[in-house]
């Protein structure tokens, strides 16, 4: 029996079928997808992962890898047949080694992102990947979704942080590619196939990550602006005057601030007046604390912003970021929220938000749009809260038509229907719709080559 074999591979502390323990692993953050599972296994080593995969391959049984289960597209949730094995990486959470002089560290896939950051900090190094779910999500999940987050502007996304990977392939083979080279042109760079593949091509068990010198001091500012286009113009201006110092640049709409005032009143707001839009930025300190201040002053003079606050200590910096990081959460209090994690070329952000807002409001005048996010990367979370007085289901029925107009505009601007959250089971149809046939065909042949039995996270992405 496969189940017995799996149990003996991982040992007593490595599996569960207890419904209470399984519950948080079979539902997800947005409560959209619910799954069932044959058994949840939590291997304690790469060899155990390998044995699990080999057994599942022999038994022709599907495996769904799961990290912190914070993914937003249902990628880590098994289907409802109860025949898929859920493979949790949580117990593989060792920091294998930190090499400050190589500016790198090797960590296991199940390490919580915040712990990875802390281990780097402990060695006076900086690991830049950072997102609101960092206290829960795991590095393996981040890499498998090629997560973005708030520091992409300066440091790139998850993919850019990887020097090497250790992966268990679909037949159970362990590929140790933890080399950690900064330059390596020997053949295809196959680690990049696994990054962003959402568990459909292999199970990531460890990664060699790139570290940076510690950013000792940084400044945080929040700027009130009149429109998303002004925010983009401000970004262009500041990238000129601050160059490499600009680390994060986030857009916040006034509706998000109103939601926060309503539901998270303990958060302190920096402005007493209401403005239509805000930018939250983080800048590392150059030679002089005044650089950011004068750069911002020049920008305000040019009317790119209306007002601005600069945090005067770290507590205030954290307070401003808490505002940004609470936006995902607070939307839950306002009923059903329809999410679109999209990207367009940077210069088209203003045009996109304007056009998408107009199109959505034309279809549903009472829809409440919350467009926010990493606009420094051309990435907007174009979310729509249900009209206040509606029943959630009535709104859900209309969701597809709203999403359609949003994605059509994204597509017309040469954007992407998934900027950083991935495809999972949520966006499979959209992927087919918006990526050319030839591109999908290449994806399919890669999948067939690496997972001919289709046992790795079937039904996701493709």
């Amino acid at each position: 029996m496969l189940v017995d074999e799996l149990k003996s591979i991982v040992g007593t502390s490595g599996w569960t079928s207890d419904p209470d323990e399984l519950l948080p692993h079979l539902t997800e953050w947005r409560d959209v997808f619910h799954g069932e599972t044959l058994l949840m296994v939590s291997p304690g080593s790469t060899e155990q992962v390998s044995a699990v995969i080999r057994a599942c391959a022999a038994g022709n049984t599907a495996v769904v890898p799961q990290g912190g289960n914070t993914g937003l597209c249902g990628g880590a949730i098994p289907d409802q047949t109860g025949q898929q094995v859920l493979l949790s990486l949580s117990r593989m959470n060792a920091i294998r080694c930190v090499s400050p002089n190589d500016f790198s560290m090797i960590v296991e896939a199940g390490c919580i992102l915040a712990d990875v950051q802390a281990a780097a900090r402990q060695a006076a190094r900086f690991f830049p990947l950072s997102l609101a779910a960092e206290g829960t999500c795991q590095i393996g999940g981040n890499l498998s979704t090629n997560a973005g987050g708030i520091n992409v502007l300066r440091y790139g996304n998850a993919r850019d942080q990887v020097l090497g990977l250790e992966v268990v392939l679909a037949d159970g083979t362990i590929w140790n590619g933890l080399r950690g080279l900064r330059k390596d042109t020997a053949g295809y760079d196959i680690k990049h196939l696994f990054i962003g593949s959402e568990g459909t091509l292999g199970v990531i068990t460890a990664a060699n990550l790139r570290l940076y010198p510690e950013v000792r001091e940084s400044q945080t500012a929040m700027i009130a602006v009149n429109s998303p286009q002004h925010a983009v113009d401000l970004l262009v201006e500041l990238r000129g005057s601050l160059a490499d110092q600009l680390q994060a640049f986030e857009l916040i709409p006034s509706r998000a601030i109103r939601y926060l005032r309503r539901h998270m009143s303990a958060l302190r707001m920096p402005f007493t007046d209401d403005y239509p839009w805000y930018v939250l930025l983080e800048s590392s300190l150059g030679d002089d604390a005044q650089t950011l201040e004068s750069a911002l002053a020049a920008a305000l003079e040019k009317r790119l912003g209306v007002d601005a606050v600069v945090a005067k200590n770290v507590s205030e910096q954290e307070g401003l970021w808490r505002i940004r990081h609470s936006i995902s959460e607070v939307q839950k209090f306002e009923g059903v929220s329809l999410k679109h994690d999209v990207s367009v070329p940077l210069g088209k952000i203003g045009a996109f938000i304007e056009a998408a807002e107009a199109a959505v409001l034309k279809l549903m005048p009472d829809a409440r749009i919350v467009a926010f996010g990493h606009i420094g990367d051309g990435n907007v979370h174009f979310n729509i809260s249900q009209p206040k007085s509606w029943e959630g289901d009535r709104f859900r029925e209309k969701a597809a038509s709203l999403s359609n107009v949003v994605y059509e505009i994204v597509s017309s601007l040469q954007g992407s229907i998934s900027a950083e959250h991935g495809i999972g089971q949520l966006k499979r149809e959209l992927l087919k719709q918006y990526r050319g046939e030839e591109e999908i065909a290449v994806m399919k042949s890669i999948k067939a080559a690496l997972d001919p039995g289709n046992i790795l996270n079937p039904g996701k992405v493709l």
Partner: protein, 249 residues
């Protein structure tokens, strides 16, 4: 009241993990975020609110230290202080010397109220306000969590070990502030720019002719012993065994 004096000490930011210099000569401040001592920021916020209510005409912020303290004074000016004074010294200043310096400034400025943080988070002395009141021969109200001015007196709620105590002091007086007194404001960029033009007087400490009370010399600094990681024991028997093993019972 004509003038409130507020002390602003430059300290390693509250959220920064403090490190000892490798040669043990002190705490690492190179490339470390420095901020206004949080209690002092609260003192300034309170003074500004007094001014905004029309209870004080002028708020003057004071810092004692090197020229780098101008940064904190400028922040104070951006929050809304009218003027700043930097008493320049390269020496480290202990509470008694600090109190003597403030006493000189009180005389020069004819201040009627001095608002200080209850302590600075770098050395945690909690002495300067009390010493100043004694040298000045005026009342003190420490650990304030609420201040109400009524003409020539101030009613102050103090955070004491057993709860809250409310006292009334005659002005002029020294009041030191506790955490719950208020929440300091964010500073706006236009105010930061304006603050660059506000007056900031630099006075060499020698000009004040105060006697330096340098009585303590720091010999060396060491980090505290690292706490050992906890272990989880299965039952009482294992606990007792572990304690015995360590020679603790």
């Amino acid at each position: 009241m004509e003038r409130v004096l507020v002390g602003l000490k430059r300290v390693v930011d509250y959220n920064v993990r403090v490190r000892i210099r490798s040669d043990g000569s002190g705490v690492e401040t190179d490339g470390v975020k420095m901020s206004i001592n949080p209690f002092d920021e609260i003192a300034l916020e309170e003074a500004l609110r007094m001014k905004e209510r029309g209870e004080a005409n002028e708020v003057v912020v004071v810092s004692i230290g090197g020229s780098e303290c101008q940064q904190q004074l400028r922040t104070g000016l951006a929050m809304g202080a009218d003027r700043a004074i930097l008493v320049e010294t390269a020496e480290s200043v202990n509470p008694l010397t600090g109190a003597r310096i403030f006493l000189e400034l009180i005389k020069r400025e004819a201040a009627e109220l001095v608002l200080l943080g209850k302590q600075a988070i770098d050395d945690d002395n909690n002495q300067t306000g009390q010493m100043l009141a004694a040298l000045w021969g005026r009342p003190q109200a420490t650990f304030a969590s609420r201040i109400e001015l009524n003409g020539s007196t101030a009613k102050v709620t103090r955070e004491v070990d057993v709860g809250l105590e409310t006292i009334e002091v005659d002005l002029p007086a020294v009041i030191t502030t506790d955490l719950r007194l208020n929440e300091p404001r964010y500073v706006k960029l236009p105010d930061i720019m304006k603050a660059k033009k506000k007056p900031l007087d630099q006075i060499p400490v020698a000009d004040l002719a105060v006697e330096s009370a340098a009585s303590i010399t720091a010999v060396t600094f060491e980090p505290p012993e690292q706490r050992q990681k906890g272990i989880i024991v299965k039952d009482v028997a294992e606990l007792v065994a572990a304690l015995k093993d360590k020679g603790l019972v």
